[in-house]
């Protein structure tokens, strides 16, 4: 045992004044008595119990010295060496991804609960001067505690943390952890990162810059693995699409475990609020790492919910990760979107709209004079080509504005010609869009409200913008198609199809079969069907699935790759110090409380007798 601040031990000399004060205080009050004969007899009797009597008489002094000793020792901070992972300030990254919800602990606890216990142990081993940051890996990641030195707060933060049934965004998590290392109060010198995880890190998926430079941490990284090789089968895919023979369903089951497993893949459908109907129950026997697909043809082309569930065969126990044992899909028949094209004449647009599936296009001839009046009939999409309406189309109809003139609906500030080079954002609207060969003579400078996001930007301004306001979706192409070679490019139909699918979501049969479109505020939902109800919009149903091979693969990762290095599991090689001062401080306070209580009780007793004496004498007379 050693003392971290031994200088405080000098305070032990306070025992001397306590003893002196005690002796002074013990100057006894003189009381005359008729004879001390009986008192001497009494003391002779008390000699039999002398040790205890002496202790009782000196109990106050004993308690005072005990309190002083405990408090001085607490100030000197005695510590015993313990094997530990933590020897200084540390950033702990706690994996909160879906695989951490696997219940493969000895008593059925989840990996996350085991990881949390490991983190709590680290908190207990944290040296007093060190600080700990806690980062919960998830989507999005969270900072549970930043450069916190108070173990109670760290424990509280850990107790309130939860894993989510999602893949973790590891690049964001590591960036957040690196940021936490430079938080105020956290010295970057010698800081360590401890990653408590089952090793399922989706680092390879990071696109753009090189993984090794982005996914690195500015310090020593230690890896605390949790979980083992657990058997797990998952429904890895469930999708529906319209086909010539009706609706086609595709389901896939995957065995991620190390052992062959048998299960029954059951597929159910539910129409409206009706009962769930079993469509197929197929026994599967899957070798480790293999998958089996099931395709159902000729399903009715009506809106329905489809569920695929894996049930263990007789004699087989359920696996420890039920989150991926079911998958959910919604099928909505494609609907024809009524589209009103308002244009002085644009062959490119008219031909394209005629060729797009699910679009019923109407053209409005422009009046020769006067304001543009929109027809009373409802349309799902309004396309304004080089014109702008006097009033907004009725909500929630979507709007595509091409080469918009200045209007209250969309103010235009000018024209720009600097249209090269263009940069594309990572939006799904630009999927498979190749802009490299597109040339534009000039475009209009559109003022951008906050809800309108530029998707294709040029040095002079935005070329394509899209956004949603009060339930209405709006897309803007800021140039005339005739002023560009876009309609001559193969990317033109792709871009327009993407835009129309975005602006007419009901026309896409696959759009509602995934969680895409769910607001980020309701992310982290376990797989299932959900209905999103908003006062300004009709209720919409979503199917949420895990579909993550990385999370479903529960195999233990003996090491992880990070920053181009292989990181093996950490051992408690460091020597930490477990401080004893909280116990000593508590003992000291208890001793003080006991001393105070004893003193008060004696004082009350003595004053009580003194008060009684005159009355008793009077009564005797």
């Amino acid at each position: 045992m050693s003392f971290l601040t031994p200088g405080w031990l000098w305070l032990g000399l306070l025992a001397v004044p306590i003893l002196i004060l005690y002796m002074l205080r013990l100057r006894r009050r003189e009381a005359p008595v008729s004879s001390i004969l009986l008192w001497r007899l009494l003391l002779r009797d008390q000699q039999a119990n002398a040790p205890w009597q002496k202790l009782e008489r000196n109990l106050l002094l004993f308690l005072q010295l005990l309190a002083l000793t405990a408090l001085v020792l607490a100030l000197a901070r005695p510590a015993v060496p313990v094997p530990s992972l933590v020897s200084g300030s540390v950033v702990v990254i706690l994996d909160g991804s879906a695989s951490m919800l696997a219940q493969d602990g000895q008593d059925g606890e989840t990996r996350f609960e085991i990881a949390r216990l490991a983190a709590l142990e680290l908190v207990g081993e944290l040296p007093a001067s060190a600080r700990m940051s806690l980062v919960l890996a998830g989507d999005p990641p969270q900072i549970l505690a930043a450069a916190e030195g108070d173990p109670a707060r760290l424990r509280q933060a850990l107790e309130s943390s939860r894993a989510s049934p999602l893949e973790a965004d590891w690049p964001a998590t590591l960036a957040l952890a690196a940021g936490a290392a430079s938080a105020p109060g956290q010295s970057e010198q010698g800081i360590e990162f401890i990653l408590i995880s089952d090793g399922g890190l989706s680092l390879a998926e990071s696109a753009g810059t090189s993984a090794s430079s982005r996914l690195n941490l500015p310090g020593r990284v230690r890896y605390l693995p949790v979980g083992g090789a657990a058997p797990n089968m998952a429904v890895s895919a469930l999708a529906l699409r319209p086909a010539d023979s009706g609706v086609q369903l595709f389901a896939q089951a995957h065995n991620y475990g190390p052992q062959p497993r048998q299960a029954i893949l059951a597929i159910y459908s539910q129409v409206g609020e009706g009962v769930e109907t079993l469509l197929e129950a197929r026994p599967l026997e899957l070798a480790p790492g293999s998958a089996h697909s099931v395709v159902l043809e000729g399903l009715p082309d009506i809106p329905a919910r489809y569920t695929a569930r894996l049930q263990p065969s007789r004699g087989q126990a359920a696996d420890s990760f039920p989150l991926d044992d079911a998958a959910y899909a919604l099928y909505t028949p494609a609907q024809t979107g009524r589209t009103l094209l308002v244009t002085p004449g644009n062959l490119f647009l008219e031909q394209l709209l005629a060729s797009l599936e699910g679009v019923q296009a109407f053209r409005l001839n422009l009046p020769a004079e006067g304001a543009l009046e929109l027809p009373a009939a409802d349309y799902d999409l309004y396309i304004f080509d080089g014109v702008a309406p006097a009033q907004s189309p009725p909500a929630p109809a979507s709007v595509l504005m091409i080469n918009p003139p200045d209007s209250p609906l969309l103010p235009v500030t000018g024209v720009f010609t600097a249209t090269q080079p263009a940069s594309l954002s990572a939006s799904a609207l630009l999927a498979a869009v190749d802009w490299s060969n597109v040339h534009i003579r000039q475009a209009r400078q559109v003022s951008q409200p906050a809800w309108l996001t530029p998707l294709i930007s040029a040095p002079g301004g935005a070329l394509l913008l899209a956004g949603e306001q009060e339930g209405r979706r709006l897309a803007v192409l800021s140039f005339a198609l005739q002023d560009s070679d876009l309609p001559l490019q193969t990317t033109y139909p792709i871009l327009m199809a993407n835009l129309v699918r975005y602006l007419l979501p009901a026309s896409d049969p696959l759009a509602s079969s995934s969680a895409a479109g769910l607001p980020s505020s309701v992310s982290g939902l376990p797989p299932g069907f959900y209905t999103l109800e908003r006062p300004d919009l009709p209720a919409k149903e979503y199917a949420v699935n895990l579909f993550s091979p990385l999370e479903s693969d529960l195999a233990a990762r003996p090491e992880i790759q990070l920053g181009g290095q292989s990181i093996p599991p950490a051992a408690s090689a460091e020597t930490g110090q477990r401080e004893l001062w909280p116990w000593l401080a508590a003992s000291g306070l208890l001793a003080l409380l006991a001393e105070w209580a004893l003193y008060q009780s004696r004082r009350r007793m003595i004053s009580g007798w003194r008060d009684l004496l005159p009355a008793w004498r009077a009564a005797s007379r």
């Binding site: 013990l26 006894r28 009050r29 003189e30 009381a31 005359p32 008595v33 008729s34 004879s35 001390i36 004969l37 009986l38 008192w39 001497r40 007899l41 009494l42 003391l43 009797d45 008390q46 008489r57 004696r602 007793m605 003595i606 007798w609 003194r610 009684l612 004496l613 008793w616 004498r617 005797s620 007379r621």
Partner: protein, 295 residues
């Protein structure tokens, strides 16, 4: 005055009890088996020279011409010795609770009863290592001396250190006339009173022990860390008192009184413990009556 006329009248109706009647030198009011000169006729005997001619039965002499002397049943007096502890420890208590004042009243009461009975009364103060000859009164006889007794008692003050056993032996060494011995004391003395008392008993006396204690000696209202000062000896004793120690004190006091009483009974002495909180006149008529000291 220690007490008033009415109390005195009540007291004179009482009689001190002595189980074994002792021969007295003077006529008293106690009937004796000895024949002597008193009003109650007992017998005749022949006159012999030197006899009191006043007791000659002249009528018988006239009839028979023989001189007969009338014999009467003699009423003997009792020697009553009151040994009063005048040590410093008796100077304890306030007002009516004062032990020595209380002991003086008991002494006065017993003395008045004795004088009214015609007994021979002597009062000796026990102080120091023995009894000071100057610190005594008597022997007195006759109720006419009651006032003298009371005045004497009023002038007494307790003081000094007393070895009770030595003082009793010293008084016994004066070979007082055997009789009824009252020891009035708090008995708070390191030496046992029985040694001294036995010296009286061996000479045919009969003893009664009256212990007088103040209420705060029976249950002292003391607490805390104290330095107790003995008012008699000036000695100190340091004690730390709490409720447990007070309880132990009461237990020890009761045990000590039981030991003293057992010693007294062993010497066939009567025993009474009085608290100065009890009215003294009632004590004489009730407690001492109950203890078989007066009737």
């Amino acid at each position: 005055m220690l007490f008033d006329e009415a109390t005195l009248r009540k007291l004179t109706r009482l009689t001190l009890i002595a189980n074994q009647v002792r021969a007295g030198r003077m006529k008293g009011e106690r009937r004796s088996s000895r024949k002597g000169a008193s009003l109650e006729f007992a017998d005749y005997r022949d006159y012999s020279p030197g006899d009191d001619l006043r007791r000659l039965d002249w009528k018988a002499y006239g009839r028979l011409e023989r001189a007969f002397l009338k014999l009467f049943e003699e009423e003997e007096d009792l020697a009553v010795h009151i040994l009063l502890d005048a040590s410093g420890s008796m100077d304890w208590g306030e007002g009516d609770l004062h032990k020595f004042n209380y002991a003086l009243r008991i002494t006065g009461a017993l003395g008045a009863i004795a004088l009214a009975e015609g007994d021979q009364l002597s009062v000796r103060l026990l102080r120091g290592q023995g009894a000071d000859p100057l610190e005594s009164l008597g022997p007195l006889r006759g109720s006419g001396n009651t006032l003298r007794l009371l005045r004497y008692l009023e002038g007494l003050r307790p003081a000094g250190e007393t070895d009770l056993s030595a003082a009793l032996r010293r008084v016994a060494a004066d070979r007082p006339r055997p009789g009824l011995v009252f020891l009035i004391s708090d008995l708070l003395s390191p030496s046992s009173f029985t040694d001294g008392l036995s010296a009286f008993l061996r000479r045919g006396s009969e003893a009664a022990v009256i212990q007088v204690l103040a209420p705060d000696e029976l249950d002292p209202p003391l607490a805390g860390d104290l330095r107790l000062l003995d008012v008699e000896t000036g000695a100190f004793q340091e004690v730390s008192l709490d409720s447990g120690a007070r309880r132990l004190y009461r237990q020890r006091l009761e045990a000590w009184q039981a030991e003293l009483q057992a010693s007294a009974v062993k010497y066939r002495a009567r025993w009474a413990t009085l608290s100065t909180a009890e009215p003294w006149d009632q004590v004489v008529q009730a407690s001492l009556w109950k203890a078989g000291m007066v009737t």
